[in-house]
């Protein structure tokens, strides 16, 4: 169970109000899509959830506890670009999450634990269709393949919340359709909560179980930075949720594609 609670959230930089009075409840296994005009604070909202920005006022709670003020393994992130490690092969990029979490001193696994991690990474590589490229470096992959890997990399640690910052913004339309199926598959496999910022209205309706629209409700033409954006629409959607129990997933856990 993961419950995100946002109460009276404000974010200001110097004289600029970016977000004002944001209140929100996000339930377990939701797929929240966030849209809004550019510069309306949707990325700021995501960065607050990620923990790289601190709220000026208000509270961010995860299951009733305050959200940690720095990024951690409970919240995964996929950026539009640059989130792969160029010096690691596809397989090593995937393994890294398991190695960092499983070995606090050297950051590498050995023997039986390494084999278990390899198995899990290989299963996930299969699920995202990158088995053929497992020895390649990220620079040798196409944009779509890079994003597949980036998503798989975040999912392998099984975060409770997965944050997506316009993850398909730089991809071709055909590739994007594939990516939609992939992200829905992983979302149902891991039963995580997803918050996705996008500028594609169609995508936001198609993927989400809840659509948030950020916009300014107050506007001062003499001082445009005086008022910030807030959630103007909070629309429940049908989504693509599958009813199946959450699978317990450890280093050796299944991560089986349910409908690969």
């Amino acid at each position: 169970m993961t419950q995100l609670t946002i109460k009276g959230l404000w974010k200001e930089y110097d004289n600029q109000v970016v977000l004002e009075n944001v209140n929100l409840e996000i339930g377990d296994h939701e797929f929240v899509t966030v849209i809004g005009a550019s510069g309306c604070g949707k990325t700021t909202f995501l960065r607050l959830l990620l923990g790289v920005e601190a709220p000026t006022r208000g509270r961010l709670l995860i299951d009733g506890r305050p959200l940690p003020s720095e990024p951690g393994p409970d919240r995964g992130i996929v950026f539009q670009r640059y989130s792969l490690f160029p010096h690691l092969s596809v397989l090593e990029n995937l393994l890294l999450g398991l190695e960092l979490g499983g070995s606090r001193v050297v950051g590498r696994l050995f023997g039986k634990r390494r084999r278990a991690a390899l198995e899990k990474a290989d299963r996930l590589l299969d699920a995202v269709g990158l088995s053929v490229s497992r020895e390649k470096y990220p620079a040798q992959l196409s944009g779509g393949m890079q994003q597949r890997l980036s998503i798989a990399q975040s999912v392998i640690c099984e975060p409770e919340v997965l944050l997506l910052d316009e993850p398909f913004g730089a991809l071709d339309p055909g590739v994007t359709a594939d990516m939609h199926q992939l992200i829905l598959k992983l979302w149902n496999m891991n039963k995580m909560t997803i918050v996705m910022v996008t500028h594609d209205l169609k995508e936001s309706f198609y993927l989400g179980t809840r659509l948030l629209v950020f916009d300014k409700v107050r506007f001062d033409p003499q001082a445009q930075d005086r008022f910030g954006a807030t959630i103007t629409y909070n629309i429940p959607l049908k989504g693509h949720r599958e009813a199946s129990p959450r699978t317990p997933c450890e280093e050796t856990g299944p991560l089986q594609p349910h409908f690969a």
Binding site: P73, R75, S83, F85, P86, L96, G97, L100, A139, S154
Partner: protein, 271 residues
């Protein structure tokens, strides 16, 4: 007829063209040397090829009467020992301090301005201090190179570290990396090829400081020998020594470049 910027030499042409300037220089030297020697057979400024070969033979293959060693090799060994020791220590300092400064904001605030100031001290200006404090032995010469080279490497590695996309560092944190693991698994591996680039750029200054230190206080070494025989206008020794130093520097640069491509194929072509 395509534009000049769109016309490329083929492989053979490229090799011939690359050798051309060397051939021109060599021809010019031989001609000038010949003209001077015809006018004055005792001329020492531009020795004839035979004189150069004699000098090379004397220094590279015959034992010196006074010291009983083959001078070119003892000089080369002494110089390379100093240079490589200094470069090794500088590389270590560069990686350690550069990454710490690049990754940890508190260390950046503490050390970045200090390193920037240090790197602006002209090393030759403090050479007398080194000789006074560290004596005339190996230490002072190695220290001079380190002082000249290490701050540059530290600054370069720190800049390259800071250039790593913020997305990568955030991603690593969401995968559970502590500062320690982040440095070990994400930053250090990506900085090795950058360190090699920095070393290649500092090879020139490193040789400069080595020869300067050897010229002033030394009993052996390539720089020492050049400045010693200068007293007798021995161009027949100086020229081969300069060519040899150039060749050594070129070989080191080549090794670093090839090693980088072999060891870090992901790092892309070298600039």
């Amino acid at each position: 007829m395509p534009r000049l910027i769109n016309r490329y030499p083929n492989r053979v042409q490229a090799i011939v063209l690359s050798l051309l300037p060397f051939a021109v220089l060599l021809t010019a030297y031989l001609a000038a040397s010949h003209v001077r020697l015809v006018a004055n057979p005792e001329d020492k400024l531009l020795p004839a090829p035979t004189t150069l070969v004699e000098a090379i033979h004397r220094f590279a293959f015959e034992e010196d009467e006074r010291s009983g060693t083959v001078l070119l090799w003892t000089d080369t060994a002494a110089s390379l020992m100093r240079l490589l020791t200094a470069l090794g220590i500088s590389a270590f300092l560069g990686m350690a301090l550069g990454i710490i400064v690049g990754v940890i904001p508190y260390m950046r605030a503490t050390l970045a301005p200090f390193v920037a100031a240090l790197s602006l001290i002209p090393p030759l200006a403090i050479l007398p201090i080194l000789f006074i404090v560290a004596g005339l032995g190996e230490l002072a010469k190695v220290l001079l190179i380190i002082i000249g080279v290490a701050p540059i490497i530290v600054r370069d590695v720190a800049l390259r570290t800071a250039e790593l996309p913020g997305e990568q560092l955030i991603k690593a944190q969401t995968l559970g990396a502590s500062t320690w693991l982040l440095v070990n698994r994400v930053v250090i591996p990506q900085m090795w090829p950058r360190l090699i680039d920095a070393l290649r750029l500092t090879l020139g200054p490193a040789w400069l400081f080595l020869i300067a230190a050897e010229a002033i206080a030394s009993t052996e070494g390539l720089g020492y020998r050049i400045f010693l025989v200068r007293r007798y206008l021995a161009m027949d020794v100086i020229l081969p020594y300069v060519a040899w130093i150039t060749l050594l520097a070129f070989a080191m640069d080549w090794l670093l470049r090839v090693g980088r491509a072999k060891l870090f194929p992901w790092a892309g072509p070298t600039r």
